[in-house]
């Protein structure tokens, strides 16, 4: 019985998240369109509202092409690794008080592990396709993930120090219910570092070097088509949502808001995640891509020292207060 309930919860979460993925692509196209004084999708349904469904059906029925020289098992496994790792990290997210599928004590660590695993999918895809563009995309992804995992982990150390826990639910409760007690204010440096590292982790503009379409055709997904391509796409968008949720949980006070919403406790959580997603899209519509050496310089020379400084200041603050 317990297992059945958990399976049902998983199914509901999956359905909700995949629907969100579909409509995030729609809103991304709409918002970027309007920011570029265009309209975005308009023809499928009212104001293009059925566009993501049409896209989904199209990619589902498209031919699945495997290059002749590709490393077949790895080529087939790569998108699955990507998607599974991203979906697994959904399990530990606390959407509201007690609304986490798995309320484990190493929640933050688990999410780091899973987002690093997802980059294995990208690297393997780049390698297994046996094409120069995908290989370059995979290489870049590897370097980017190694450079940005470190500042990301370090930026959250401050949060861990303040809350004294790796459990995401406890991090939220440690921030209290007041809007002024969220960790955004004491951890403003940490948030800055986290935000930039988050953009880089999810391969979003301005750090979308692994799939830089202007230089690398489509980067690591060049050789993929049909449903496997869609799986990479879903993984990317779920990654965005997971990272937005981590930002919400660790810096913006999770599900706590100015006032409680009856019957739907995750309201504020979801609102904050939408805010993050809008920020992702807004940045994509505005900024050009970083050059490769600039990306590395930013990660190693700026973000890591800043994150270390943040840890030092947080520690000093804790000693002085107690």
């Amino acid at each position: 019985m317990q297992i059945l309930i958990i399976i049902l919860q998983i199914a509901v979460l999956l359905a909700v998240v995949l629907l969100h993925v579909a409509y995030t692509t729609y809103f991304e196209r709409k918002i970027i369109g309007h920011m570029q004084v265009r309209m975005g999708p308009m023809r499928v349904g009212w104001h293009g509202l059925l566009q993501p469904i049409a896209d989904g059906i199209k990619s589902f029925f498209k031919e699945d092409i495997i290059p002749e020289q590709a490393d077949k098992p790895l080529f087939l496994a790569a998108p699955v690794i990507c998607l599974v790792a991203m979906l697994a990290s959904l399990a530990v997210l606390p959407f509201a008080e007690g609304w986490a599928l798995a309320d484990i004590n190493i929640g933050l660590l688990f999410i780091f592990a899973m987002s690093s695993l997802a980059s294995y999918g990208i690297i393997l895809a780049g390698w297994a396709s046996n094409s120069k563009y995908t290989f370059l995309g995979g290489l870049r992804s590897m370097a980017q993930v190694i450079s940005y995992e470190i500042p990301m982990g370090l930026s959250l150390v401050g949060v861990m120090m303040l809350s004294g826990s790796l459990n995401l639910t406890e991090i939220v409760t440690a921030q209290g219910t007041s809007i002024f007690s969220i960790y955004l204010f004491p951890q403003i440096i940490g948030f800055f570092v986290f935000f930039i590292a988050m953009l880089a982790e999810t391969n979003r503009v301005p750090f979308d070097l692994p799939e830089a379409e202007t230089e690398l055709v489509s980067g690591y997904i060049t050789e993929y088509s049909g449903m496997r391509y869609a799986m990479f796409f879903m993984a990317e968008y779920i990654g965005m949502m997971v990272m937005a949720s981590i930002g919400t949980v660790c810096f913006l006070g999770g599900w706590n808001g100015p006032f409680a919403i009856p019957f739907f406790p995750p309201f504020w959580f979801i609102l904050k995640v939408y805010g993050f997603l809008f920020l992702f899209i807004w940045i994509r519509a505005t900024l050009p891509r970083y050059r490769y050496d600039q990306l590395m310089a930013l990660g190693w020379k700026l973000l890591i020292p800043l994150a270390l400084l943040n840890i030092f200041l947080t520690g000093l603050f804790k000693i002085l207060v107690h």
């Binding site: 918002i31 309007h34 920011m35 570029q36 265009r38 807004w282 505005t286 900024l287």
Partner: protein, 217 residues
């Protein structure tokens, strides 16, 4: 001159990355401005004078046939040789146009045929949606060209005096133009208002001042 590629910033501007924030503000502002997109099949583009669209033969309401007199000027002036005319003369010397065909696939849309026509028989309508999968379907014969005209006036409400000022040869006084093209045109289509070279302007000012007034008539 020294080009400064990277404007100087003070410390505060560096910390808050002012340029990035300015860019973000711009995109946010543009998000609420009306889009410039034209939803084409639903929303047609506006037509401007001088549009050179589908060819047509003007149907004379008196004879219910083309106004063409078979002078062959259009076929002669056509740079791509896409107009074919067949005619015969009867014993009294009256000329009958048997066939008048335009191969649109060869046409370069220069509009010379319309400019040169002494009776305003051939014209270019404002219709531009006549793409076809069949090559033969856009090789217009006389019947098809007359039908184009009928469709055009039914759609837009013009009559057979439809004359586009852009098809009138510039710099020619109105008295020398065929009657159908001797109509009032905007000021910049008279000799005075035209954009011409200095030399033409000087000769016009010295001897063509009467022409300039004439062309406005």
């Amino acid at each position: 001159m020294k080009v400064q590629y990277k404007p100087k910033r003070n410390l505060l501007e560096t910390i808050f990355q002012v340029e990035i924030l300015q860019g973000m503000a711009l995109t946010l502002r543009k998000m609420f401005s009306p889009p410039v997109t034209r939803q084409y099949p639903d929303e047609k583009p506006p037509m401007y004078p001088g549009f050179r669209g589908q060819h047509a033969l003007v149907r004379d309401p008196v004879t219910n046939d083309s106004k063409c007199i078979g002078c062959m000027r259009c076929a002669t002036v056509c740079p791509s040789r896409c107009i074919q005319i067949r005619y015969h003369d009867d014993e009294r010397g009256k000329r009958f146009v048997d066939q008048y065909a335009i191969d649109v696939l060869r046409c370069v849309f220069c509009g010379y045929c319309v400019e040169v026509c002494p009776v305003g028989a051939v014209t270019m309508t404002e219709v531009f949606e006549y793409a076809n999968y069949d090559r033969a379907a856009i090789h217009y014969d006389k019947g098809a060209l007359l039908e184009n005209w009928d469709n055009f006036i039914a759609q837009t409400g013009y009559d057979e005096t439809y004359v586009n000022p852009f098809w009138r040869p510039r710099g020619i006084p109105a008295s020398l133009l065929p009657a159908s093209q001797r109509m009032n045109v905007p000021d910049d289509w008279t000799i005075k208002g035209q954009f011409v070279g200095t030399k033409v302007r000087q000769t016009q000012e010295s001897d063509g001042s009467t022409h300039a007034e004439e062309s406005n008539v």
